[in-house]
Symmetry: C2
Subunit: 352 residues, 2 copies
């Protein structure tokens, strides 16, 4: 009786075109650069004399997300935000996305509406237009593939390869919380599987859960840097873990770095969770991933402009490549940074 009140419409009852129409009919275009959105073979964008940036991400159920604890609306929001973060990582604001979704018949029209609600909410929040995509059935689970566009003056684009010796290494906020949230969700899931009557213990953990389930892209920091007239020399977003991203910037810029362990920002909740899992909190920040904070380098001459900005935390500086990539521990010992960032293929490893 109760279950009857939850409506379930089969996607096959309205078909692919019906589903696309249903999901996209209420979409409003707000970006002046969008000339034509959904409804033809392609969307048409007016770059307004700027350069166009494009990035694409693929999210696969069972690899990148677990619907046991990720509500579909949050998942939609996160999938969009992860892409917006790729634009922020280039010092650029996102303007348009296309969303391709593959789904099995496990999903009802109502479920996909929830997913789209999250995507649309993210688009509204970040002032991005949803201009196209594709919808298809899939033989197993949910697939989300998003491409994002951004417009920028060429001189504002920041690559990973521009860091120089002596530059300051900065992050835009605390690290490790998203992975701490994942640890808790995985723990509660396995306890629930063992004892389905158990209530999940999530009180007081809002921050780390939100960091995992509903992250934000630091477009605010991109705007802030513009305001204070600081152009980073190199930048990327922290999706795979600080250690892995530091290595990318060092290798692509042909520099080394010294990172101070006691400067790496971590939230108290994340710290406590690391401890309760018998993990080193610094390991959580270095290898946790999915924080979507920005990692960037700034010329020393810009130090005065950033030193009092709350959102910018200086965690070290760039050195000669020959000096290597090092973490200076709290005990003042220098240890080489080793990346153990997330690799979707590592789940498949039989050996190693």
């Amino acid at each position: 009786m109760f279950e009857d009140r939850i409506k379930r419409t089969e996607i096959s009852s309205i078909g692919e075109f019906g589903l696309i129409d249903h999901l996209t009919k209420s979409i409003e275009l707000k970006q002046p650069s969008t000339i034509y959105g959904i409804g033809d073979d392609a969307a048409v964008i007016n770059p307004e004399g700027k350069k166009v940036l494009i990035s694409s991400d693929l999210l696969v159920e069972g690899v990148h997300f677990d619907l046991t604890y990720a509500p579909l609306m949050h998942l939609g929001y996160k999938a969009a935000v992860v892409n917006f973060s790729d634009m922020a990582a280039m010092n650029v604001l996102p303007t348009q996305i296309t969303v391709s979704i593959g789904l099995s018949n496990r999903f009802s029209v109502e479920a996909i509406e929830e997913l789209y609600k999250g995507i649309k909410l993210a688009c509204e929040h970040y002032n991005v237009d949803l201009v196209g995509g594709d919808t298809s059935s899939s033989q197993s689970g949910l697939i989300l593939s998003i491409s994002v566009l951004g417009l920028a003056e060429e001189e504002d684009v920041v690559y990973r390869h521009g860091a120089h010796e002596g530059d300051l290494l900065c992050v835009s906020g605390d690290l490790g919380a998203a992975y701490a949230g994942l640890l808790v969700l995985e723990r509660e899931k396995s306890e629930f599987v063992a004892n389905p009557k158990m209530q999940p213990q999530l009180e007081g953990l809002d921050y780390i859960l939100e960091r995992q389930l509903k992250p934000e892209a630091r477009v605010d920091v991109v705007k802030l840097l513009k305001e204070i007239e600081v152009k980073p020399t190199a930048m990327m977003d922290i999706s795979d873990g600080l250690a892995s991203e530091i290595k990318h910037i060092c290798e692509q810029s042909n520099v080394g770095c010294s990172v101070y362990e006691n400067k790496i920002p971590i939230d108290q909740q994340a710290w406590d969770i690391a401890r309760s899992f018998n993990m080193d909190p610094t390991m959580l920040t270095m290898n946790g991933g999915e924080d979507y904070e920005l990692l960037f380098t700034v010329a020393q001459s810009d130090f005065d402009k950033i030193k009092d900005v709350n959102e910018i935390i200086i965690i070290g500086y760039m050195t000669a490549a020959s000096a290597g990539q090092n973490l200076i521990t709290k005990n003042n010992v220098s240890v080489p940074i080793k990346a153990q960032g997330w690799d979707s293929f590592s789940k498949e490893k039989d050996t190693d």
Copy 2:
């Protein structure tokens, strides 16, 4: 012993970054509009004062392709071409693509190399740069998600909604062959399943098999139309079947049409296969799909420019919306056009 000679490298042995490096290291950028390709958080494009078009497609194993008979190299080629065709459908040449791939541990590095070979071949053939994407594991099968960009002057872009009463309705080549190829491949597959010693009977069917396995995008027709100074009033590509696409143009342009059955071009091989399957060849052309020819409308005043062009076949004309969408049969009977185009969700239908 013989099997040992086919090298199989597990993707997990080189990891996600290793795989991306391996697949993309030989990529050359040729488009002057590509400022930066693979290797950062986003690619950077110089639209050179033009408008930017974007389209995205998702291809899922078991839904859009069957690796039993689609070689991976052909699949890569086709996946890219299907996207190029979306640009041609807007009267625009493709310039860049991003490719996201999800794959299970069933696939070796060598298998993905084959897939990429096909994608790169298509890019070379069409002068398109591969500028980005994502690679991920998947719990089941192969997922291919491609986004394509194209650059055009705004006045050259052709939408689906611009057809007028009296316009001529044209196609760019023969129809139904891709579906005829699929019919043969499905037949040979089921015969092989029943009797694995059986040799597939594919002699003399090269044309329809190539149309199914390795289609081309009609960018040549886009160039030709430009040369002869004809701008179609409405255009799209034929991916779901002629009937379905005609309905899109009619509905979006608010017109009707009369299509002459005896004018619809079909290749002899496709005709013969339709007959051997006891199918009406016209049904094959109307509902077969995957031909990737262009369907477009041209003002009557352009008739002299197109009447002697081999690549352009006039199959009817547009009428008032109130007259409906009609097929004039060989017996000179007018019947309403009914779309039974391919719908990926129809495979899931339990009832209906």
